[in-house]
Amino acid sequence: MQLIACPWCGPREEVEFHYGGQAGVAYPADPAALSDEEWGRFVFVRANPVGRFEERWSHSAGCRRWFTAVRDTATYRFQA
């Protein structure tokens, strides 16, 4: 079981964390201005790279804070 470094609590076991998918996908400033296609992409489509990936994680069984981490999806290692 991996250790994940929570920026608030330090390294904790991965079962304490909840995965939140790709980071940096901002809620659109004006959803009404988007086409159906653009809105559909925002709601449903996320990157799925092999290698470095900026992700959202929540220390859900600890401090309950969300944070962004960089993880290598091929090795599972957290890099930042």
């Binding site: 079981m1 991996q2 250790l3 909840h18 939140g20 901002a26 809620y27 004006d30 959803p31 009404a32 988007l34 159906d36 809105w39 559909g40 925002f42 709601v43 449903f44 959202r56 929540s58 859900s60 309950r64 804070r65 969300w66 599972y76």
Partner: protein
């Protein structure tokens, strides 16, 4: 010495050997016969001491089998233990003998005990800088080095006593080996930062230094203390893991190599030195290197006649020396090609290329396989070492080091050096088999790696537990398999309890030979946890029965139990489903409770509803984004029903919101939504709108809430809080007041989930039982009736109020539920809003919530039933499906059955008839609006 057959604990016991306590005798029973042994014996050593050769029958071929190794690598010696603790398929070689042990042989398969396992199992966590697995010479020195450095150290070892493969005849640092072991242990024990765990098997190694280990705490005790757990799973988090797990001796495959009396050479030597058991009197040792010489010499010294068949045509220096000493009869260049046996199948002759050799024990040594399992578990790669004839750890894995025989270092001096940390990482690439063995000067060993000898492949056993032969491997490669992983699964070789500890390397090598490729190009199958079998009971630990999943109960649980409630599980909550009276089933009880609520007054324990305290100057703005309807316009002291959607516009939860004051709201969620909705709110608040000044707190457990429901509820609440004006004018629907009754703060809220006049009474859990009792007392003149969740469900369904998660499945929008009125048209944005205009959301053929009335008024449709067009004969499949029944009940108020259903274009089908196939029957139903009772809402104000 060799003639001490009068030993009480068996004819094969020899004096002067072994670390057993001969002053005490233990009685045990095997296959119905009584035997004796000594403390320090294993069941296997005691059986062999008593001359028991056959310990089982093979699973597929029905062949007799015996003990073939002295510890956990034994593929054959599985037994069924009947007493003192019934358990199937344990290895006789790892069962420590206790007085009164009863065991039976098995034919490949054991059987589960037919009595419950009442033992206690538990779990502990440990944290350390250095974890050392294995207390042999390398491991002991590794632990000592780490401890002297100041590390917190955990040392686990699967044997009852430390020392690993040491026999006691060696010398270490000028001392007798066991003096060295004792001194090192004493030093470690004196260090408060060192934890030593004997009888503890590290069975899995995971990321970041996480190791699971099973400690067997009581099985070696004749009468275990009741307060000590039988087994304990250690969850160890180590900065550095030192794998010092030794090596397993490798057999050589020949015909009929599975006969009782065929054994690994070092295991026979082990039996002699640990248990004083001389497993044969007339012994043949078959080997292709020098590693078995020690066994040959020791067994000869103990009184056996030993013949060494050395497959190598050229004499090694060690073999020459042996020949000169004369204690062992040496035949160079001889190979064993088969065996012959007696009536019971036990070995009587070794068949060699130059004739038969009589024997009662055939020892085999084909070299050593490093026990690299814990290195492989963390994706350490193994590389083939041609001199070793085995795979050994390759490139180092950060945080893990492998030392001693597990690293392929088979000589004692090398093991000690690696244990001290003198071997730099990564591990040396020089073949360590060329390192001189202790006491043999520096002569090269002239190893010859030998996997198998000539003979009938159908009788050459690779995996003795699975009855997997060379012929099976040939069938696999003949069928086109080229990967050892495929061969393993096709033949099942290496899939038994031992997971191929002795057979895995042979299977790879023989597969390579059959395919005509070098074994290094094939590799080996992947070692996966657990290293040895672990009982589910140990993994479950305390989490059994009532502790399997936490049970949540409300402040009134004792009252519910006392009043005969039938409970249902709602998530982890225990909720009263109904309160049957004498002679009532659920249907009768629910009809009675429903009627009481609609005609008089009922009371429900609704404490499990999720409650989230939302505070801060921006709380209103925040909730406007979360709910589909407007929340910020709510006035303090008022409540509003609201719907929450995901970004896709589908309903995720619903409930009422109370505005306590300008900056504070109480969000009520469904019981199941309490935790996920809090997560949902936190996620949006923290990740999208961190600028909003809002704080969220779960207060579900802080409030007990009792809906008092029905036309007579005003009388009850009026009496309960006489200082509060409960008239419809002064206390309107969706209003609430915070007040005190008998100095207890209570909240009264006119919220209704049934369409009836109703108040929800909320109070802290401490005062909840008193308030509940008071409400019952005041309600008694009106026949107040406690009701459960089933009645609540019927009452809400009669009103068409959906249950999120029962009438919805994540693909249902507010409009589909007829809740379009709760979707704000004024707000610029809220979660899900943009999705409502997507083409699929406005498709008129979306499934929509409707009511269904079976034409047979007594017919209750099963929930989940499919719905098709009206028909009296189903068309050939595929039959177009229109939807399904989501809720179905008998209604006291309607005097009939009814259902809610999601039906394609359902709102436009109201008045139509459809068919619900139930088994072979076709049940006609009429589609109605979802609000079946009091559609005008006339009852709300009493």
């Amino acid at each position: 010495m060799s003639e001490s057959t009068s030993e009480p604990s068996g004819p094969s016991r020899v004096d002067g050997y072994g670390r057993i306590d001969r002053s005490r005798t233990l009685r045990f029973t095997f296959d119905g016969r009584e035997y004796t042994g000594h403390p320090g014996d294993t069941l296997a050593s005691a059986l062999l001491a008593n001359g028991v050769r056959r310990t089982g029958t093979s699973v597929a071929h029905g062949r007799p089998r015996g003990i073939t190794a002295a510890w956990s690598e034994d593929p054959t010696g599985l037994v069924q233990v009947e007493a003192p603790f019934p358990e199937p398929m344990l290895l006789a070689t790892t069962i420590e003998l206790v007085d009164g042990l009863v065991a039976r042989s098995v034919a490949g398969r054991g059987r589960l005990a037919d009595v419950p396992d009442t033992a206690r199992y538990d779990r502990r966590h440990a944290h350390c800088e250095t974890l050392v697995v294995g207390a042999g010479p390398a491991g002991l020195l590794a632990a000592r080095t780490a401890a002297r450095r100041g590390d917190r150290v955990v040392l686990v070892d699967d044997r009852p006593a430390a020392g690993g493969s040491l026999l006691g005849t060696e010398r270490i640092q000028g001392r007798a080996a066991f003096d060295f072991v004792a001194d090192t242990l004493a030093e470690l024990r004196a260090n408060p930062d060192v934890r030593i765990l004997p009888r503890t098997t590290a069975f899995g190694h995971y990321d970041d230094g996480f190791v699971l280990a099973l400690e067997r705490r009581t099985e070696h005790l004749a009468s275990p203390p009741a307060n000590v757990s039988r087994q304990r799973v250690w969850r160890i988090r180590a900065g550095h893991v030192v794998v010092a797990t030794g090596a397993h001796e490798r057999p050589i495959v020949f015909c009929d190599n599975d006969r009782p009396g065929t054994m690994l050479a070092a295991s026979a030597r082990d039996l002699l030195h640990r248990y004083g058991v001389l497993a044969g009197r007339e012994i043949v040792v078959f080997t292709s290197d020098d590693a078995a010489h020690g066994a040959a010499v020791d067994l000869a010294s103990a009184g056996a006649a030993v013949t060494l068949l050395d497959a190598r045509p050229t004499l090694s220096a060690a073999t020459s020396a042996l020949l000169e000493e004369g204690a062992v009869h040496v035949r160079p260049g001889a190979t064993v090609t088969g065996t012959r046996g007696g009536d019971a199948g036990e070995i009587t002759h070794a068949l060699t290329d130059t004739g038969e050799v009589p024997c009662d024990l055939l020892l085999v040594s084909g070299g050593w396989n490093p026990t690299a399992h814990l290195f492989s578990h963390v994706r350490g790669t193994l590389r083939y070492d041609a001199e070793l004839g085995a795979f050994r750890p390759g490139e180092a894995v950060p945080g893990t080091s492998v030392v001693g025989a597990a690293n392929g270092t088979l000589d004692l001096a090398g093991c000690l050096a690696e244990g001290r940390g003198e071997s730099p990482e990564p591990v040396p690439t020089v073949g360590s088999a060329s390192v001189p063995t202790v006491g043999s000067a520096s002569a090269p060993r002239l190893n010859q790696v030998l996997w198998r000898t000539d003979g009938d492949p159908a009788r050459q056993y690779v995996d003795l537990q699975r009855d997997g032969t060379v012929a099976d491997i040939a069938r696999a490669t003949g069928a086109g398999m080229r990967s050892v992983e495929h061969v393993k699964r096709y033949t099942t070789i290496g899939t038994a309890h031992d997971q191929g500890k002795t057979s895995g390397m042979l299977a790879s090598a023989i597969t390579a030979e059959l395919l005509g490729v070098p074994v290094e190009s094939l590799g080996t199958t992947t070692f996966r946890p657990p290293y040895t079998p672990v009982a589910f009971a140990a993994l479950a630990g305390r989490e059994r029965g009532r502790l399997f999943d936490p049970e949540r109960t409300t402040a009134l649980h004792a009252w519910h139990v006392e009043h005969g409630a039938v409970f249902e599980d709602v998530g982890q909550w225990k909720r009263p489903r109904h309160y049957p009276q004498a002679g009532e089933g659920m249907d009768e009880a629910v009809l009675r409770e429903c009627a009481a609520v609609r005609t008089g007054v009922g009371i429900l324990d609704g404490s499990t509803l999720g409650k989230i305290d939302v505070q801060g100057p921006d709380a209103g703005a925040f909730l406007d984004m979360i709910y589909t309807n407007m929340i910020s316009t709510l006035r303090p002291g008022r409540a509003r029903y609201g719907v929450m959607c995901g970004l896709d516009g589908m309903v995720i939860d619903d409930g009422t919101v109370l505005r306590v004051n300008e900056d504070r709201f109480l969000v009520m969620t469904t019981t199941g939504g309490a935790a996920p909705i809090l997560d949902h709110l936190e996620e949006w608040l923290q990740t999208e709108w961190p600028h909003l000044r809002v704080a969220l707190t779960s207060v579900t457990e802080q409030w007990a809430t009792f809906p008092v429901v029905g036309p007579r509820s005003r009388d009850v609440i009026g009496a309960f809080a006489p200082h509060v004006d409960v008239s419809a004018e002064a206390f309107p629907f969706m209003g609430f007041v915070d007040t005190e009754v008998d100095d207890v703060p209570v909240r009264l809220a006119r919220i209704s989930f049934s369409g009836e006049l109703a108040w929800e009474v909320s109070v802290d859990g401490w005062h909840a039982p008193a308030v509940w009792d008071r409400l019952l007392e005041l309600g008694a003149p009106h026949g107040i009736t406690p009701y459960g969740t089933e009645t609540m469900h019927v009452l809400r369904a009669e009103k068409g109020y959906p249950i999120i998660g029962q009438d919805t499945d994540g693909t249902v929008s507010p409009h589909d539920l007829g809740l379009g009125w709760a979707v704000s048209k004024k707000k610029a944005d809220f979660l899900g809003r943009r999705s409502f205009t997507r083409p699929s959301n406005v498709d008129p053929l979306r499934k929509q919530l409707v009511g269904l009335l079976p034409l047979d008024r007594t017919r209750k449709l099963p929930e989940g039933s499919q719905i098709v067009e009206l028909t009296d004969a189903l068309p050939p499949p595929p039959v177009p499906m229109l939807g399904h029944v989501t809720s179905s009940y008998r209604s006291a108020a309607l005097g009939r059955t009814f259902a809610l259903a999601l039906v394609k274009g359902g709102h436009a089908r109201i008045g139509e008839r459809l068919t619900v196939p139930v088994g072979a029957e076709l049940v006609p139903v009429e589609v109605t609006g979802s609000v079946l009772f009091d559609p005008e809402g006339a009852r709300r104000d009493g």
